[in-house]
């Protein structure tokens, strides 16, 4: 792991990142780098570092694209998945990884998320989900819990939140999972599986935003927020060994849904084969 890994896979001239002290995003970004590294090292796979493309949108999470030393593109707010669609279609051999946030992928970019999931285009979407718009200073997002406070919900949030992993499942994603900052090793393994998955995959990774979300909602500092994750987000094996009673109020860290649907670019290759045969005749 680091720091050789950090030196190898990050643009270290630009570190430390712009994220606040205690922000969970740095851990998720490293999980992604570790996952890619381990996949490249594994001789079972035929992965080349230059075949990886990191695509991001706008928001705290999306600054990750600049720090990761890969082919990287930091696009417009909400549109990372749409840019990634063009990249993957144009060159299906590329491993296209979208780094996004709760607002970027489920508010302004919600439409692109559900349609990429429906098509089963072979992208890997990693959502840095911190329940808040951090970059603009703490407005409520589609994942801010009902009743919580934000600068735009001074009396408490009236909205009901999305569960992004379930949203992706509902939209037909062939791989949908949940991870978090505390369970870094488990989350890295989930990200590896998501990248290896041929069709569309989404990992909703719970981040922590002590500065704009934690402080406002009396959730404590970064340490307290991570302890909450430790006690309430439960990795798969332990989760399924728990009784219904013990599971109450807790959430699963692991794969939520998995399917072997045909992948989009492979299906389109069949269209090309059929159309060029027809053109020849």
């Amino acid at each position: 792991m680091p720091s050789d890994l950090i030196h190898q896979y990050m643009r270290i001239d630009h570190l430390p990142q712009i994220w606040c002290p205690g922000c969970g995003n740095g851990v998720i970004m490293r999980d992604v780098a570790v996952a890619i590294d381990e996949l490249i090292q594994d001789e079972e796979n035929d992965f080349d570092r230059d075949d990886f493309v990191i695509v991001s949108g706008i928001g705290c999470s999306s600054r990750a694209a600049g720090y990761l030393d890969f082919n990287s593109i930091h696009t417009t707010h909400g549109r990372a998945i749409a840019f990634a669609t063009g990249i993957k279609m144009a060159n299906p051999k590329l491993n296209v990884i979208v780094l996004t946030g709760d607002g970027d992928c489920s508010a302004i970019g919600g439409n692109h998320l559900i349609h990429a999931a429906r098509r089963n285009l072979g992208l890997t979407v990693i959502c840095f989900n911190n329940d808040i718009y951090g970059m603009t200073g703490g407005q409520y997002s589609p994942t801010t819990p009902n009743g919580d406070k934000a600068t735009t919900a001074p009396y408490g949030n009236v909205d009901r939140p999305f569960d992004i992993a379930n949203l992706a499942t509902g939209a037909g994603a062939s791989f949908s999972a949940r991870g978090d900052v505390f369970h870094a090793r488990e989350t890295t393994e989930i990200i590896k599986k998501a990248i290896l998955h041929k069709g569309f995959s989404l990992v909703d990774v719970y981040s922590v935003c002590p500065t704009y979300y934690g402080r406002k909602n009396k959730k404590g500092d970064a340490v307290e927020m991570l302890k909450w994750q430790r006690d309430n987000l439960i990795p798969t094996a332990r989760y399924y060994s728990m009784s219904e009673e013990l599971r109450a109020g807790k959430k699963l860290i692991g794969i939520l849904s998995y399917n072997d649907y045909p992948e989009y670019t492979e299906e389109y290759a069949k269209v090309i084969a059929a159309a060029s045969n027809k053109a020849k005749k």
Partner: protein
């Protein structure tokens, strides 16, 4: 040759969030002037918890050969 691990602190990357110190099982780390400091080098068991949890890659173990 015997491999040995040492703890390295990248001072300029540390933002003083205190996560490493809080999750250190031996409580050998402390935050002084918004930077992490190894207060008890003898007590460190080189478990790597701090490295795993640091969001800023500012503390990590390095293998050195003797």
């Amino acid at each position: 040759m015997v491999g040995r691990k040492i703890l390295v602190i990248e001072d300029k990357w540390c933002k003083g969030c205190g996560i490493c110190a809080a999750f250190c099982p031996k409580q050998v780390l402390e935050i002084k002037k918004e930077k992490v400091r190894l207060k008890d080098p003898e007590g460190c068991i080189r478990c790597g918890q701090c490295e795993l949890r640091c969001p800023d890659y500012a503390i990590y173990l390095v293998n050195v050969e003797e």
